[in-house]
């Protein structure tokens, strides 16, 4: 009798778990085509229109989640996101992961250094192309992905 009950319970559990996982898989693997997207999603994700149908289910889910949060962002942030969407999408997975790691290390910097980074980037852009090429050719001295701390500014001469 007890063994019958154990068997019945095992079967019921297996069937229930199978049904639950099948339902979950249906949700997790949903991969809508561009024409199936809502007007709002199509408008936000417009830079990805030509690549959308080639994206995997996981990446589509990520972009759709991002589109949902898009209206809550400031207009300049919305503009930056749309401006970089296609370029980001066309990076290799390794490049995206490297950029994410560097972004995380940037977030850990003190606020003043974090805010100064945009200006530093512009200064770097104004370097002669040969110099930038030479810097790029050097091996990374620290762990890849780590945004180094910006050295403190040189002491100014008195009176300046």
């Amino acid at each position: 009798m007890a063994s019958e009950r154990v068997r019945a319970l095992t079967r019921a559990l297996a069937v229930a778990a199978l049904a639950a996982s099948a339902a979950h898989a249906q949700i997790a693997l949903k991969s809508p085509s561009w024409s199936e997207l809502s007007d709002h999603d199509r408008q936000v994700l417009a830079p990805l229109a030509s690549d959308w149908n080639n994206l995997g289910a996981q990446r589509k889910a990520k972009w759709l989640g991002l589109a949902k949060r898009y209206p809550g962002l400031a207009p300049d942030q919305q503009q930056r996101i749309q401006g970089q969407m296609r370029e980001w999408s066309r990076l290799t997975p390794d490049q995206r992961n490297a950029a994410r790691e560097r972004y995380k290390s940037l977030k850990s910097l003190p606020p003043d250094q974090k805010n100064a980074m945009r200006q530093k980037w512009q200064e770097y852009q104004s370097l002669p192309p040969d110099k930038r090429r030479e810097l790029s050719a050097r091996p990374p001295a620290r762990a890849p992905g780590a945004f180094s701390r910006v050295p403190p500014p040189a002491p100014r001469a008195p009176g300046q």
Binding site: W88, R102, F147
Partner: protein, 132 residues
């Protein structure tokens, strides 16, 4: 059972038959009720064999029903393990989607362009104190 034992059994049966004739109607009724209850609770032969086999730990003579029930049990366990593994994988995958969604949203909305995160020259330049 040898000859003497068989003879002894026959004698007992004769005495019982003789005594049964003298049983009072009330006692007879209760005996009938008890027999009917026992018959109603009788476990089918195949199931009884399986339970006995399972109870004594199993052996070569356990019969096909034991193997069938054990196979079903192991199949159930294997199915549960497979489903749990698959579910965990799906859950991890969804977690990664949420993590990337949050990270990418902030990265793309940040002041720095994507190139700044990927340019090794920029990283080296920052590290070396903005050499010119």
């Amino acid at each position: 059972m040898n000859h003497r034992e068989a003879e002894f059994a026959r004698k007992i049966a004769r005495h019982l038959d003789h005594a049964a004739a003298d049983i009072r109607p009330g006692t007879l009724y209760r005996l009938k009720q008890a027999r009917a209850a026992a018959m109603a609770n009788l476990v089918p032969a195949s199931s009884a064999t399986g339970e006995l086999a399972a109870a004594d730990g199993g052996s070569v003579s356990d019969g096909p029903s034991y193997f069938r029930s054990a196979a079903v049990r192991w199949l159930g366990v294997a199915l549960l393990v497979a489903v749990a593994g698959f579910g965990y994988q799906q859950w991890r995958s969804m977690q990664q989607v949420y993590e990337f969604e949050d990270l990418d949203l902030h990265l793309l909305a940040s002041d720095l362009p994507i190139d700044a995160y990927l340019d090794r020259g920029f990283q080296n330049w920052l590290r070396n104190g903005f050499e010119r």
